[in-house]
């Protein structure tokens, strides 16, 4: 039994022996933490799916279960705040599993000295977000940490939902020829946050796209049984989600730069800051992989929903280059879109 007792962490963490901010970026460092530390400790078939939610079967009912923590800084940003984000984020993680979100919980970690009026504003917007998404907040917890040991407010939300159809949404269902759809313009949330955090002011205010996607998901599931995969591309952006898709399906992902909707202000901000919109976070976007014969139908269903007016088909699944995301550039070249290594760093010049 002695061999099981090992004080040394076996994980080779790319030479880092401490947690870096990059470990929370949603890119490769995060994936390494999960693969090397969390998965080996808790191995089970539900976790091994590595979805945004676990799907469990309880007495014949398929239930989706998820959890997420919110530490966004600043807590109020153009287009939303940490409370609304905490509700929508968990709703969306359930929705992209094909579930109808029902109940959520909230855990608050508050810093000593945090203003109660700000807390009220956060809670008020959580209430509105619950109403909008049609979920009920049924349980919660509050902890307070000493001043300086937290940053105003951190929120954890967990949620459960039911799956009331027999569509299997899984990388196993993804096939060459499938189309890749997105419900609208990318990069808004990340740039909205950054514009406040770095004290950078843009001439046009960029607002976060935070929104609950569950009704949009219901709309597309009502027109097609051939939805093979869904994700909300949050941290790490569209590129990280598509890399996960390429790797978990072991197929190639091809996207078309001219078809990917990037709003002008996001483009301009990214040009200035040396960032790539494909890696910038979204909070109200849905990527869906759909059988080719249903792609137009699903696109139309998306466009009929207020959250999908600018939906587009941005690419397709290929047999070539399995595990790799390739982009056809606007000028006719091709390039690999890799997963982000750590944090996206602004380039020097």
């Amino acid at each position: 039994m002695a061999s099981e007792f090992n004080l040394n962490c076996p994980a080779p963490l790319s030479n880092y022996d401490k947690v870096l901010l990059g470990h929370g970026s949603g890119g490769k460092l995060t994936a390494e933490l999960i693969k090397n530390i969390f998965l080996p400790a808790f191995q089970n078939p539900y976790l091994a799916e590595l979805g945004d939610q676990a799907i469990v079967n309880v007495n014949g009912v398929k239930i989706a279960f998820t959890t997420d923590s919110y530490v966004v800084n600043p807590i109020f940003f153009p287009g939303g705040n940490i409370g609304e984000l905490a509700v929508n984020g968990t709703v969306n993680d359930l929705a992209v599993g094909g579930a109808r979100p029902l109940f959520i919980s909230a855990g608050f970690i508050l810093e000593e000295g945090f203003s109660l009026s700000e807390l009220c504003a956060v809670v008020e917007s959580m209430k509105k977000a619950c109403e909008r998404a049609g979920v009920i907040l049924v349980t919660g917890d509050t902890k307070v940490v000493e001043k300086g040991k937290g940053d105003k407010i951190f929120i954890n939300t967990s949620g459960i939902g039911v799956i009331e159809h027999d569509v299997e949404i899984s990388p196993r269902k993804v096939k060459p020829g499938d189309k890749i759809l997105i419900n609208g313009p990318i990069g808004l949330h990340g740039i909205a946050i950054l514009s406040r955090r770095e004290g950078i002011e843009f001439e046009i205010e960029i607002e976060s796209d935070t929104a609950p996607l569950n009704f949009l998901v219901q709309d597309i599931l009502s027109v097609s049984k051939n939805i093979h995969w869904m994700r909300d591309p949050t941290r790490g952006g569209v590129s990280s989600s598509l890399n996960e898709l390429a790797q978990s399906s072991n197929l190639g992902v091809e996207i078309w730069e001219t078809e990917i909707p990037v709003p002008e202000p996001v483009k301009a901000a990214c040009e200035m800051l040396g960032l790539d919109p494909l890696y910038v976070a979204n909070e109200g976007k849905l990527i869906a992989v759909v059988a080719p014969e249903d792609a137009e139908k699903v696109l139309e269903a998306m466009r009929n929903n207020p959250l999908g007016r600018e939906a587009k088909i941005i690419g397709e699944i290929t047999e070539e280059h399995p595990g790799v995301v390739l982009m056809k550039t606007a000028i006719g070249g091709k390039r690999v879109v890799d997963m982000l290594a750590g944090e996206q760093l602004p380039r020097i010049c």
Partner: protein
Amino acid sequence: MRFIDEYRDLKLVQAYVEKIHEITTREWTIMEICGGQTHTIIKYGIDEMLPDKINIVHGPGCPVCVTPLEIIDKAIEIASTPGVIFCSFGDMLRVPGSKKDLFTVKSEGADVRIVYSPLDAVKIAIKNPDKKVVFFAIGFETTAPANAMAVWRAKELGLKNFFVLVSHVRVPPAMITILESPWNMINGFIAAGHVCTVMGYEEYEPIAKKYKVPIVVTGFEPVDILQGIFMLIKQLEEGRYEVENQYTRSVRREGNIPAKQLIFKVFEIADMKWRGIGLIPQSGFKLKKEFEEFDAEKVFSTVADINTEESQICISGYVLQGVKKPSDCPAFGTLCTPLNPLGAPMVSSEGACAAYYNYGRLKT
């Protein structure tokens, strides 16, 4: 985006690609100096569109990549000192020193901050009079005016808590080093538009003449790069070796005179070490004597003893001189990746190795 989309126009790109194919009759090896141009070439797949006869090699123009290991180690030492706020451009944080990087120092509790402008570091110094604020002043001639301005402002304001760790490099001496190298195979240069926006291109004229190499000052968008390559190949095919300016919307022959004046008020030309290449005479800037009080290396005297040797495995020196391509390195994409970089060109997105890895992995 106005003034950008025009330079990413598919029809114009195709027209230039066609014209380049038409005029190319021989094998030519050309080098783009600047990392920003390397980035565009690989990001848009431009190298794939050119005739096989044109061999593009990527020059030493990534400031992050050529900053010597020794300076990184000094930065890490200073950043780890209690009471210091260390400010840097973002992509310097992940450059490995001999033992760790600035991200690790940050995770150990040091106050390391990413700034977008050296003047932001000056503001931080004003707001934190009880701290020593150090700005990592690196880069080519492009960042020199802003870095000089920060020091100038600090002097005007009488700041006693603002310092700069300077590792500034200049393009022309590096070009001469490459041309005089026994392995040199460069027939022509795509010169860096941003460097020339500041410095102009007068100083390139004697280089073109002496070494009989054409030089085209070029911008950074796909159409710029293709037009620059077209102008360069045209000169080569016609047997000319002149300095031409493709980037006329930004560059004048004499450069930006007030910016140049400011640089030489604060800095003077000095010998400088380059990562992977070694010492190049007259290839850098250091603070002038009258600005010595802002020199972090003088204030944090313990760093004077740091003398770090470069890694033996990485071939970045050859890559930076254009003698080898990133994919020639046995460690490329296996031992050395953006997540676990052995050498600096894999760290910055402007680095040749990272550009190859991120955008062109399939070709290897």
